[in-house]
């Protein structure tokens, strides 16, 4: 019997003065055990200050730097040059920093340029499963380190929410990958579809959780359904108590856990009050981890999630062509419809109707939410 690896408590950092300003007191106290860096989010920068590189290198040398991709667009059926560039960039930064592990998000990005799009769910069928496995393999082949996927905060239907964990398990298992369990994402899904969060947690493959994220979010009114509010994963607020409760619950159940990360956007960390709250959230998170540590169940193999190259079956050409057409149509409708009712009408006569997208079961308030997000980012 071995011992579970210690869980490292860390924060998501990037070249942002508000995030760094909030992180600085924690770094000064030497209590940040790991850093998560979105290596593809500095695409606007040509010049990076040497001290930022030194900070990343300091953590990398301690095997405490993890890479978190944002813009690969794992399920984009239409392979683009941008994705080739993304993989090349990943190879380059990984060869320099040697991430402990690398993760990406579930979904595909709308828009021709993914930086101007928003991540959307895909139908959970054999085409997307094989496509996702193929794409994970592309990442794994480049980096030869553990790779994982994060659960999505958004779905169009309750059925998709309930099936998400199972689908993630099938996706990552093929390459011996793991899951990032973002507890605020899970909370968003549970709240928006009126599911008990604890019960939803049970539907996830908790034995595959190597990393947990916690963060805050915001509320948005639905104009289609009176009195209904939608929980959004905007990462701009402190961590709500319910997410800490979910964390406590999860810590006892995720035996393979090695990293736990507090994420907050710089825009939510402008005031001194918000920076202090960030520090309090981090300490609360770290204390919860410390309390649970002695009770975690060994063994957990350190090499448990070593990347395993594998033979993947290719999705059928017809399946990919259908998916391309449907993703293109959905993106276009979300971007160009003049209103939500008009979007819903168009969807009902689109190639997504009576298909695996199951748009007939989509929640109209969630369609409105997707519309708002895409309108903002197009």
């Amino acid at each position: 019997m071995g011992h579970s690896p210690k869980v490292k408590a860390g924060i998501a950092i990037n070249l942002d003065k508000n995030i760094l300003g909030a992180a600085l007191p924690l770094l000064q106290e030497s209590i940040v055990e790991t850093i998560e860096w979105s290596f593809d989010a500095l695409y606007q920068h040509r010049n990076i200050p040497a001290w930022f590189v030194e900070l990343l290198e300091t953590y990398a040398e301690a095997n405490a730097l993890i890479g978190h991709g944002v813009f690969f667009s794992l399920f984009n059926a239409n392979w683009t040059e941008k994705q080739t560039q993304w993989l090349e960039h990943l190879s380059k930064v990984h060869s320099h920093f040697h991430f402990d592990h690398i993760t990406e998000h579930f979904g595909y990005m709308t828009g021709q340029d993914f930086h101007r799009g928003a991540p959307m769910p895909v139908p959970l069928n054999s085409t997307t499963l094989l496509l996702g496995q193929q794409r994970l393999q592309m990442i794994g082949d480049r980096v030869q380190c553990p790779i994982g996927l994060e659960n999505l905060a958004f779905s169009f239907s309750k059925d998709d929410v309930k099936r998400h964990g199972d689908f993630l398990e099938k996706l990552v298992s093929k390459c011996n990958g793991f899951l990032i369990l973002d507890l605020h994402n899970l909370y968003c899904q549970a709240f928006n579809f009126n599911i008990d969060p604890d019960k939803l947690l049970e539907l996830y493959p908790l034995h595959l959780v190597k990393e947990i994220h916690i963060s805050g979010g915001s509320w948005e009114d639905s104009s289609l359904s009176q009195d209904r509010i939608i929980r959004r994963d905007t990462h701009d607020n402190s961590v709500p108590q319910i997410v800490f409760e979910l964390l406590q619950e999860s810590l006892g159940k995720c035996d393979s856990l090695t990293h736990i990360i507090l994420e907050q956007l710089g825009v939510g960390l402008i005031s001194n009050k918000s920076k202090l709250q960030f520090k309090e959230d981090f300490i609360k998170m770290k204390n919860l981890v410390s309390k649970t540590e002695p009770n975690r169940h060994p063994p957990a193999n350190r090499n448990r999630f070593s990347y395993t190259p594998h033979q993947t079956d290719k999705p059928s050409d017809n399946g990919i062509e259908d998916l391309k057409r449907q993703q293109g149509e959905l993106s276009k409708l979300l971007e160009s419809s003049i209103s939500v009712p008009s979007l819903i009408d168009s969807l009902n006569t689109s190639s997504l109707a009576r298909s695996d997208w199951s748009i007939e079961n989509w929640d109209e308030s969630m369609i409105e939410t997707a519309y708002r997000i895409v309108q903002k980012w197009k």
Binding site: L15, D16, K17, I19, L20, L24, L27, Q28, S30, V32, E33, T34, S38, D40, A41, L42, Y43, Q44, H45, R46, N47, I48, P49, A50, W51, F52, V53, E54, L55, T58, Y59, A62, A64, V70, K82, Q85, E88, H89, K92, V93, M109, H115, R116, G117, L152, A153, D182, N185, S215, S218, R232, D233, T234, H235, L265, G266, V267, I270, I373, W377
Partner: protein
Amino acid sequence: MMKISKSLLKSIALGVAIGTLGTSCSSAIFTPILEDDVEIDADGNKIDSIETESETNPDTCEGDWDCPACGLG
């Protein structure tokens, strides 16, 4: 415990204080992945519609309330 050198902490504090992140070129490891979309002015600042839309923080994609950078913002 994760010790960071005093000089590095000082540099971070200075970078945060002056608020101009990204002023000195460090190395070639950060070639932007979307160079064809990026125009840079003489001071090394990006000239692009995304950046001008982001009023709160032009430094990274994390500069807006609904950033998709962390899942579905």
